[in-house]
């Protein structure tokens, strides 16, 4: 990786890190998620609060979305929108050192509700996901691929999508534990990447409902953290409010 590429990757990483970083450190002091929630709750309408709780009900870290390659950034943004819509919180972008520019129109703001991770290479992303206990499944059309409905999405699974032009990279295919396809009975064998991802994520969502009767599965701690983060995104000037409370010593 050249120096400019490295710098670009770092810049992207810090851009995206804002979505996933611990939002509870104010002036060097870490606030408990419950403190953040208590301080910000008065600024939310009951309706908004209920909506956030409903979204938390349907949220999971069990399935992670991974998008590789960046030929068409509109596609990455579209996948992000689908992942958010179906409640899949972890979202990984593997840049391969290239540039990534999100399309605000297409994400519909979904990036602010997700944990977005940016990796410079398949190896880096795969190592992180494997360490976190995910089975790596590449969506890929070949003879060794199994139909997506043979997978059990109640287990930790990272679903990897390639780019429109080249599909999943050779290196990522090497790193992946399995390959899967969406069976299509028609002549058209390959779906647009944003369509393939949406269908796969919808399938995973429905598979989880069918197997265990529920989709969202946050434990109490993850839920408290995510609630605090959602509050910070939903309340205008949230950081200023928290900072003021921290400085005045009025913390719950």
């Amino acid at each position: 990786m050249t120096e400019p590429e490295r710098e670009a990757a770092e810049a992207m990483r810090s851009l995206w890190a804002s979505a996933g970083a611990d939002p509870f450190v104010i002036d060097g002091r870490r606030l408990a998620p419950e403190a953040v929630t208590a301080l910000l709750r008065p600024y939310l309408t009951d309706e908004r609060f209920a909506r956030i709780e409903a979204v938390l009900d349907g949220r999971t870290y069990t399935v992670a979305t991974v998008v590789e390659g960046l030929v068409d950034t509109g596609n990455v943004s579209a996948v992000m929108r689908s992942a958010e819509a179906f409640g899949f919180q972890p979202f990984h972008i593997i840049t391969g050192g290239g540039r990534f520019k999100r399309s605000k129109r297409t994400t519909q703001g979904s990036e602010k509700w997700l944990d977005v991770h940016v990796w410079r290479s398949p190896d880096e992303g795969a190592a992180f996901l494997r360490e976190a206990g995910y089975t790596l499944v590449a969506t890929h059309l070949d003879a060794s691929a199994t139909p997506i409905d043979t997978l059990d999405f109640t287990r930790k699974t990272a679903l990897i999508f390639g780019n429109e032009r080249d599909g999943v990279s050779d290196r990522m295919l090497e790193l992946a534990d399995r390959r899967c396809i969406i069976p299509t009975p028609g002549f058209v064998e390959s779906l647009n990447i944003s369509v393939a991802a949406a269908v796969s994520l919808y399938h995973a969502y429905r598979d989880r409902l069918a197997r265990q009767g529920f989709h969202g599965d946050l434990d109490a701690e993850a839920r408290a953290r995510l609630r605090a983060r959602f509050f910070m995104k939903a309340v205008k000037n949230a950081e200023r409010i928290l900072r003021r409370a921290a400085q005045s010593g009025h913390l719950p």
Copy 2:
């Protein structure tokens, strides 16, 4: 509708009609589908033939795709590609008098394997579909909409999708028998039209498999007709071959 609009609609209609028209009339004489099939079979490899039979196995007219409005033609083309991939043969485009220009890159040639109908108005399209026995279901996000998984896609259903900007038109909503939504547990409530259509069609495909154990349901006559049409699309210079046979009197 103004005169230029009417002319544009007619031109489109004849453009698309080529996909759905009876392909068996050669020099005013109608060939039986079986004759077409027998004459063209020698020009197909066994592999190509097997592929066509496999696609016929997974083909249905029970669910029709309807796309209304033409703001983004790339989206209409993407929906066409998904409909073909999941085996839904009838495809209806309601132009509202506007212009439609297909995006060849996005359809991936899928239009030649579908029955494409073009209508000038919601009334025209709805009347045709109702006459053909379809229940009209508009995909539409509102309080009266039922979740898509409450529908039974083993019954004749026309799934109607609006355009990206305005959704399904008011007139089409009046004409529709029901409204349905794809439930999304996240903050993002509306999916991109091509994504929403792909997910809905995938859902319909899976619903049919789950309820009855099979998806394709062509009867012998429909299958013979569609086989002949597919052969005509798959064989180069098919018309010339058929014309020569008809002129020489060598018809099976």
